[in-house]
Amino acid sequence: MRRRSAPWLRRFRPGRWVVAAVPLLWLGLFFGLPFFIVVRISLSETVIGLPPYSALLEWIEGGMLSIRLNFANFALLWQDSLYLDAFINSVRVAATATLLCLLLGYPMALGIARARQSLRIPLLLLVILPFWTSFLIRVYAWIGILKGNGLANNVLLWIGWIEQPLPLLHTDFAVHLGIVYGYLPFMVLPLYATLSRMDSSLLEAAADLGCRPSRAFWRVTVPQSRPGILAGSLLVFVPAVGEFVIPDLLGGPDTLMIGKVLWSEFFNNRDWPVAAAVAVALLVLLVAPVLLFERLRERAQPR
């Protein structure tokens, strides 16, 4: 598209700036500024006091401004294997959970998108309904289900599949289950959005050209829903990596996830600078998949 308005008109459009200023201001105030503070804390030193970190800038005698940047916190993340292990483990758990969400959510979304018009809204409501209950309460409910004499074990004992209660709670299994349960709607909704928008005549065209329904699914439906797959996976993966509540409540003492590490640095160790460094590193590492996603999306929709 080469046709544009005259350069002077392009440069001088006050309406555009007003519209853009609102979200910019919002982002600056509630994302940019807090992030700046977190970065600042991550470059300071731990002190006992209030606040529990040192100042970066200090006036020393002779009217000199002294700047002390402490990179030891970031170095620690690299040196102490705890942080790297926790991060890798988090990515692994999040990736597995994302894949499980996709395998579970795709048939759900497809089913809703292909359901009768009058059934779609009720089915979508069923997907969203859990959001009406607090996330925390729902995770606690899983404790009741998974614990030694919980619902799951009692049912399994009753139908005679097991003789001893299974250790379900405080395992990696429970963490995966919790994340898949908690984030499934974030997978289903974007998938539903792309699948319901899909032109049904494309499947008819595929059938007309000799394509069986099973093949048409892989050759037409799945490629068409790629933006939804990418968006859903990102919506599950990114928060799942930093997830703190689920591993804390459902995971075992050896469940190592970066969100939990961050929490304990902050509240248990009161080491704000290291906690801030973990947060900054996490953000930087999570921006990478987002950028990758954007690249993939651009390639999926050439313009």
């Binding site: 032109d199 065209a205 595929a206 007309d208 050209l209 068409q224």
Partner: protein, 376 residues
């Protein structure tokens, strides 16, 4: 043409086997009949049009042939094979969709080759045939484009190439030209007919555009409310409509309701109140005196002038409306009986002043042979 006998068209030849036989097919959606008891035979090499207003069932009939719908009643035969129960992917039929339904994630070449890939042909053969097909629709240099990088006319040709590449016995076209602008549509009409003659595939086209159906088809079926009202060549449909619906649907027509008076040979005398006089009309069959008859005459068959024109029927009236359309002018004349008669004059001379103007007294006239009677 060597034989002395006149060439017999396939549908006139009792020995010819139809390619498509639709036998008593009905289909309804939510108890609403879309197609009611339709029977139709289409012969190899035909360019057959299903013509009707929207909602007349023409698209449903096409989708029944493609296999996207199952009939409630009746059988569908293609090349002698009963395909009523066959899913679309097993029918020897391809369809060109009104929306074109091109796969947006595939290139032009992959779209066109899609049908061949389903047959498991070697990639090299597919590439050769796709290239041939793209050359035929003059899109050779667009093979690697995506559909959304093409113009409407180019997309239409990709859809055509994709539906022809498997050499189906029958190609179904759902409003193939509806999305094109007028100029391109007229050009594409001829191109489509040329391609059909070149590939020798039988075409069934659904259209709401009577001009399109008339220009392109060998035969057409006029549909209304799920039923076929007449099947015939464009000339038959236009000049010899079987009923008032067909007469009124195709082209403009002057209609006079009346009663049969007397018949001499094949000329019937009809008294029509709205014409204010007796009309003579050519009727091949015998009509009982006193039965209701509609006399109909097309505007271009009506002669118009200040003096009484020669002809079997002559009426005098007043010019009420004049519409100048460039190639022709249309005049509306109010006659004594109250009817408004439409007449068409061809504008032979450039810039000539109109022979008549509003309020002028004038005569219209036509021969009994040029009018037709609809007895119902």
């Amino acid at each position: 043409m060597t034989g002395s006998a006149p060439r017999l068209e396939a549908w006139q030849d009792p020995a010819a086997a139809p390619l498509v036989a639709i036998k008593g097919v009905s289909k309804s959606f939510d108890r609403q009949a879309a197609v009611s008891d339709v029977s139709l035979a289409i012969y190899p090499g035909e360019f057959f049009s299903l013509l009707g207003a929207s909602g007349c069932g023409k698209t449903t009939l096409l989708r029944l042939l493609a296999g996207f719908e199952r009939p409630d009643q009746g059988r569908l035969l293609i090349a002698g094979q009963d395909v009523t129960e066959l899913p679309p992917y097993q029918r020897p039929v391809n369809m060109m969709f009104q929306s074109y339904a091109l796969f947006p994630h595939l290139s032009v070449a992959d779209n066109v080759g899609f049908g061949l890939r389903q047959e498991g042909l070697p990639r090299r053969d597919i590439r050769v045939r796709v290239a041939e097909m793209l050359d035929m629709v003059k899109l050779g240099s667009f093979a690697q484009r995506k559909p959304d990088q093409l113009s409407g006319g180019q997309r239409q040709r990709v859809a055509l190439a994709r539906s022809l590449i498997k050499h189906p016995k029958l190609l179904l076209l759902d409003e193939p030209l509806a999305a094109l602008d007028r100029k391109l549509r007229e050009h594409t009409q001829f191109e489509l007919v040329n391609i059909q003659e070149r590939v020798g595939i039988t075409f069934i086209m659904v259209t709401h555009d009577q001009e399109e159906a008339m220009t392109m088809s060998t035969r057409m079926a006029v549909m209304n409310e799920g039923r076929i009202r007449q099947i015939g060549t464009p000339v038959e449909i236009y000049e010899f409509p079987a009923n008032r619906f067909v007469a009124g649907f195709i082209g403009a027509v002057n209609q006079f309701e009346g009663r049969a008076l007397a018949q001499a040979g094949d000329v019937l005398q009809v008294y029509a109140e709205s014409a204010g006089t007796e009309l003579r009309v050519h009727v091949p069959q015998a009509v009982v005196a006193g039965s209701p008859v509609v006399v109909a005459v097309r505007p271009e068959k009506v002669r118009l002038g200040r003096e009484p024109p020669p002809g079997d029927n002559r009426l005098q009236g007043t010019v009420e409306e004049i519409a100048y359309l460039g190639d022709v002018s249309v005049y509306h004349l109010r006659v004594a009986g109250g009817a408004l008669i439409e007449a068409q004059l061809t504008n032979h001379t450039r810039g000539a002043a109109p022979p008549l103007t509003w309020g002028d007294r004038a005569w219209v006239g036509w021969n009994a042979d040029d009018a037709f009677a609809l007895v119902e």
